[in-house]
């Protein structure tokens, strides 16, 4: 990315560019100047630290955390996986926040005008922390596809938004999890904005019979690899 030999945290053969014209909103929002290399100072090697006190007991269960008089409509799902660093080590204490549309493809956000019903028992937001080995687990319902106005007859594939805050300012990822076999992925300029097929496919969760619970919910597995500064010294006994 730079002539100075600076190796940044992000791999630009994997990460989407700022300008991806098929996704029309990028055209007026993409910076034009090249990024300037920044060697991390202490500020970028530190970040907010979260603990159990930051999370409520139902925060991870989107089928319960906004229920008013029953259960949300839709296909109940379990989404689970492990957050790893680039060395394959589980990352503990990652704050994962998710948000999504309901089963009909409608967000609760006031600006979503899609003509589909809201669900009185579903907000579609959740949060959790990864455990000491990096594992997380959410319970939700499968989100519906929804239309948007990027181009004629544009539909977003079903997805769950993920925000991850890792062990320092550099270890930060906002992404989207998709579902296997979704025919809309091929037409989606957001998904297709990722520069290579292999990197793209990592955002597709895997149906997992082990996670699936009989008579209750389908299981999807979604592991996530976070880029960031090496934190070896941060671990107990590390040197």
């Amino acid at each position: 990315m730079s002539e100075s030999g600076h190796k940044g945290v992000l791999d630009w053969s994997i990460q989407p560019p700022y300008l991806h014209a098929p996704y029309v909103a990028t055209v007026r929002r993409a910076p034009h100047h090249p990024l300037v290399p920044l060697a991390a100072s202490l500020m970028e090697r530190t970040g907010p630290v979260y603990g159990e006190g930051d999370i409520g007991p139902l925060d991870h269960d989107l089928t319960k955390n906004a229920a008013k008089n029953g259960e949300p409509l839709g296909e109940r799902i379990i989404v689970t996986g492990r957050v790893l660093d680039e060395n394959g080590r589980g990352v503990p204490g990652v704050l994962i926040e998710i948000w999504q549309a309901n089963a009909a493809g409608r967000y609760i956000h006031k600006n979503d005008q899609h003509d589909a019903p809201l669900d009185p028992n579903f907000v579609g937001a959740g949060r959790t922390l990864t455990d000491e080995k990096g594992f997380y687990r959410f319970i939700s319902i499968k989100p519906g596809a929804y239309p948007w106005r990027n181009h004629f007859n544009a539909w977003r594939p079903a997805h769950i938004h993920f925000s991850l805050i890792g062990r320092n300012f550099s270890e930060r990822l906002v992404t989207q999890m998709y579902f296997p076999g979704d025919p809309l992925l091929e037409y989606d300029p957001i998904y297709q904005g990722i520069p290579n097929t292999k990197a793209r496919s990592r955002l597709i969760s895997r149906f997992d019979l082990e996670t699936t619970q009989p008579e209750w919910a389908l299981g999807y597995r979604f592991d996530i690899v976070l880029a960031g500064y090496d934190q070896t010294y941060f671990e107990p006994g590390g040197h």
Partner: protein
């Protein structure tokens, strides 16, 4: 080595999940340091305010310490200051109630780390904000930046009846485009 996962846009509908009441207020009554408001707009290539962006900040406490184990002095960091804030933008922009950080050695001047997310950005952008009442050329990072562009990182101090406000617009594109970093 594992391959890192790609970013996707935060989209337009994140606020109900990510923007919490008080998330842009980093201080309480006991926090040490000079109270400041950091506010400004996020502007697009047509110089129009982006009213659906998310701005995050991370900063040291008034003594230049971080409440994080990578800081050798973290045990002395202000227990009443976490250092992380989030603000969703409206047409008026973003706004944080915080304190002016202390400088973090080896830099003799303070600054704040900033990250912006938005619909139309497939990946976030990272920048920094410095303060107009310091000689920022003493900062090793700032000193290395293009002098024609580095003023885009400087917030202007305004002493108003309600308190100290630093104004800083973040321009995603076009004339006066903010410097963004490859961290």
């Amino acid at each position: 080595m594992r391959a890192q996962y790609p970013s996707q846009t935060v989209g337009p509908f994140f606020a109900f999940a990510l923007v919490r009441e008080g998330g842009n207020v980093l201080v309480n009554e006991q926090t040490l340091g000079e109270r400041i408001t950091l506010k400004g707009r996020v502007l697009d290539g047509d110089n129009q305010p982006v009213d659906d962006a998310l701005v995050e900040i991370w900063q040291a406490d008034a003594q230049g310490r971080f409440r994080h184990p990578a800081d050798p002095q973290h045990a002395q960091a202000d227990p009443h200051f976490k250092g992380f804030g989030r603000s969703g933008t409206t047409g008026e922009g973003f706004c944080f109630q915080t304190i002016k950080p202390g400088p973090v050695p080896p830099s003799p001047v303070p600054c704040i780390a900033v990250r912006v997310f938005a619909r139309g950005m497939l990946i976030h952008a990272v920048t920094r904000v410095y303060f107009s009442d310091h000689d920022n050329t003493l900062d090793p990072v700032f000193a290395g930046l293009d002098p024609a562009r580095r003023q885009t990182l400087v917030a202007q101090r305004c002493e108003l009846p309600g308190g100290v406000v630093y104004r800083w617009d973040l321009r995603l594109q076009g004339e006066g485009e903010t410097i963004f970093f490859d961290l």
